[in-house]
């Protein structure tokens, strides 16, 4: 194979891997939108909050240390060496479940039957609240996150693919980031688990019933409030996974909340109500933007991938407003 063709394959492969990372973020949006019709503006901040909490627990940081020291005149920063990674992940998950309870109790309960725009505005407030709380709890410095996942280019894949180019050509193998491979595997496991959960458990079926029709679900005795807590807890778990993956790439910092911007074109493309849509949408956006950057970018000065993703999404909006897998909504006047 010619090096140019191998470079093309490398671009596609890396695009697919990047797409999986986008899908991880988009999944959280889909779960909440599907079950409650809320576009959760705070999903990116939830990923940030979960990652901050995880690193804080791993490093033994005292939450609200600056506040405590300022008020009590103490000088406490760490309570110990920190929790082992697995335990820290479990405790973080408990924190995200507690957060789901709080959100339902303090915000959503009071907004039942309100217009979707009101709920959307509430999630904007929630985003600011969580960002501020995260800052107060864990500080604003950039934190390295290591959960033991491999990262960096794969030597094995480089060696395997180096021989695919003709002998004597200036080709040094294909690049693939092992962290991206881990993310892909985790995303597959996550989607399979979510699918099995929604298909084969009573709670999952209740979730689907609520997603189909709130009023009908209520009429057969499904508690909307419990379902919301469950959905926000699952979305919190997905946010934790996304936070771990993105945090491992860039360190855990407040820019992490901006990953939500990467999920928007994925959602438009895949549809706001479809889990497979979030995955397929992510893959299309990932591959599309990487190919655009590699082959269109040099013609126009580069940095085209961000707007290219939105252009693809816009094109889909024109021809298929509900996205690839979204539900077509027909309203009669």
């Amino acid at each position: 194979m010619s090096p140019d063709f191998l470079n093309f394959i490398e671009t596609v492969l890396n695009g697919l891997m990047t797409g999986v990372m986008y899908s991880l973020v988009a999944l959280g949006f889909v779960l909440i939108f599907k079950a409650s019709g809320i576009f959760n503006f705070a999903q990116g901040v939830m990923a940030l909050f979960a990652a901050l909490t995880l690193v804080g627990l791993q490093t033994g940081q005292v939450p609200f240390a600056h506040l405590i020291n300022a008020v009590l005149g103490t000088d406490v920063h760490h309570w110990g060496p920190g929790l082992p990674t697995v335990l820290a992940i479990l405790v973080t998950m408990l924190v995200m479940i507690a957060l789901a309870f709080l959100i339902e109790k303090v915000v959503l309960k009071h907004l039942v039957n309100q217009e979707p725009i009101i709920l959307f505005m509430a999630t904007i407030g929630l985003a600011y609240f969580l960002e501020g709380t995260g800052d107060l709890m864990w500080g604003a410095d950039v934190k390295a996150l290591d959960v033991g996942l491999p990262s960096g280019g794969s030597f094995w894949w480089e060696d395997v693919t180096r021989n695919w180019a003709p002998a004597g050509s200036d080709y040094f193998g294909m690049y693939i980031d092992t962290l991206d491979v881990s993310a892909a595997i985790i995303a597959v496991v996550l989607v399979v688990a979510l699918t099995l959960f929604s298909q084969y458990t009573a709670t999952g079926r209740a979730l689907r019933a609520v997603a189909d029709d709130h009023q009908a679900a209520l009429s057969v005795g499904i508690s909307l409030r419990s379902i919301w807590v469950i959905v926000w807890s699952i979305a919190g778990f997905v946010a934790l996974v996304a936070g771990i993956m993105w945090g491992a790439k860039s360190g855990v910092q407040f820019s992490l909340s901006l990953i939500a911007l990467k999920a928007l074109p994925v959602l438009i493309l895949g549809g706001f109500t479809s889990i497979p849509g979030a995955i397929v949408g992510g893959l299309i956006i990932g591959v599309g933007e990487k190919l655009a950057e590699a082959y269109v970018g040099p013609l126009v000065g580069g940095a085209v991938e961000n707007w290219f993703a939105y252009m693809v999404a816009l094109a889909f909006l024109l021809f298929r407003p509900q996205g690839l897998y979204g539900e077509k909504i027909i309203e009669r006047i």
Binding site: Q253, L258, E289, A294
Partner: protein, 429 residues
């Protein structure tokens, strides 16, 4: 009757005392302690505030007049930055450090019209170094164009003065800031014969796979970076991932803090960046800060940022502002200052090695000599290198000059075009 007696006594006491009550010297701090760039904003704001607190606590202020830091949160947002300027300028503000190229561009016409000096230290509009055109804007001790040239000088030094045929890639934030060094690097490429590749990264720079795949394929000899925020951390991590030799990866001074290298762990070892000030906490001034500011509970933050790159930069900015205020006080023979007098002080600022030593900052920065014509200062810079094993930066060379033969004509060209566009007459004649 009693009240009027009391008033008379008070007036008499004031007259006997001889010296009228002095107002504070007000230094606004357009900080960003919140938002996506807070990790960079907090240490800078802490360093800036702590130095003025030190002067107040240890010396009773600047020549006996207390300095007051007026902090206003911008969140690194240009609109909020302008609002901060408008809401604080009436408080007797002497000097603005906008801390963002976007805010600087907005404040250049506003502050000039209001007669308040702006110090965009190592950022903002590079051609503001021409004081003949930009009467109220200063960017000493160095500009982005100086930074680009100093990096190329370092590469020249490493290659025995010959970089003909070498490939240099610039990974830059796709914004006005990131594009600043391009013209300089292009001119230097013509002069030295290296091949320049431009690789833009869109804001915020969380995803850079395409850019680093390109670098991996094209195998440049050196990669330069003009990044900010998360873009820096991701770029350094990606460079480590593709096993790019870190000692050939050199960033501008805004891609040079501990925040940028720590997430990459050992992979960041050897990464370099250009700087215009010293690194670490091995300077006497930090002992004073600990004693008079941190230990007395008056530090702006938790006191845990001392010696970090951005804390040092904030402290350095405060020191330059305080020294300019001192110069203005001497120049106008007054202790209370107006913004116009402060501007004069900045234009007459001179800091030599002996003065730096007196300030507890021996060798912390290059000697500074500002004039009416030259608001950009000496344009000197050094290269700092990251040691991941002990988590420290080290200066690996002395503060050296930029290529003035290339930079000065560029500054002249750009500033004269600005003057023509805005009908600004030349001054300093």
């Amino acid at each position: 009757m009693k009240l009027s007696k009391l008033a008379m006594v008070t007036v008499a006491a004031a007259m006997v005392g001889g010296t009228p009550a002095l107002a504070d010297l007000v230094f606004p701090s357009l900080s960003y302690r919140t938002g996506p760039y807070a990790a960079g904003g907090i240490p800078f704001a802490d360093g800036y505030a702590d130095y003025f607190t030190l002067l107040n606590e240890r010396d009773g202020g600047i020549n006996g007049v207390e300095a007051r830091v007026l902090e206003c949160e911008t969140g690194y947002n240009t609109q909020k930055g302008v609002e901060c300027y408008e809401s604080t300028k009436g408080e007797g503000s002497l000097l603005y450090q906008p801390l963002s190229t976007g805010i600087t561009y907005q404040l250049i016409p506003k502050a000039t019209a209001d007669g308040i000096p702006v110090h965009s230290m190592g950022y903002g509009r590079t051609s503001a170094a021409n004081g003949k055109i930009f009467s109220h804007v200063f960017n000493y001790p160095g500009t982005y164009w100086d930074a680009a040239s100093i990096i190329v000088n370092h590469i020249l030094d490493e290659n025995g003065g010959d970089v003909k045929g070498k490939k240099i890639a610039l990974v830059y934030h796709n914004s006005a800031y990131g594009k600043e060094p391009i013209r300089t690097l292009e001119e230097l490429a013509k002069k030295h014969g290296y091949e320049l590749t431009l690789i833009p990264v869109d804001h915020p720079g969380q995803e850079q796979k395409s850019q680093w795949l390109q670098i991996r394929r094209e195998r440049p000899d050196y990669v330069l970076m003009w990044g900010w925020g998360v873009m820096n951390q991701v770029a350094i991590k990606e460079a480590a991932n593709i096993r790019f030799p870190m000692e050939n990866f050199i960033g501008v001074w805004w891609s040079a803090s501990e925040n940028d290298v720590l997430p990459a762990g050992e992979g960041a070892n050897g990464y370099k960046a250009v700087t215009f000030h010293g690194v670490g906490s091995d300077f006497p001034v930090f002992d004073d800060i600990k004693k008079h500011v941190v230990d007395t509970g008056k530090a702006a933050g938790a006191g845990d940022q001392i010696g970090t790159v951005l804390y040092n930069r904030g402290l350095y900015a405060a020191m330059l502002a305080a020294e300019a205020a001192r110069t203005a006080q001497a120049l106008h023979n007054t202790k209370d200052l107006t913004p116009a007098q402060m501007r004069d002080g900045m234009e007459a600022l001179k800091i030599d090695a002996a003065r730096l030593e007196e300030l507890g900052l021996p060798g912390f920065g290059p000697e500074i000599n500002v004039s009416c014509e030259n608001h950009g200062g000496p344009g000197l810079g050094a290269i700092q290198q990251w040691n991941a094993s002990d988590g420290t930066w080290t200066l690996i060379n002395d503060f050296g000059p930029a290529d003035r033969a290339v930079i000065d004509p560029l500054i002249m060209e750009d500033s004269l075009a600005f003057a023509k566009e805005n009908n600004i007459p030349e001054r300093c004649n």
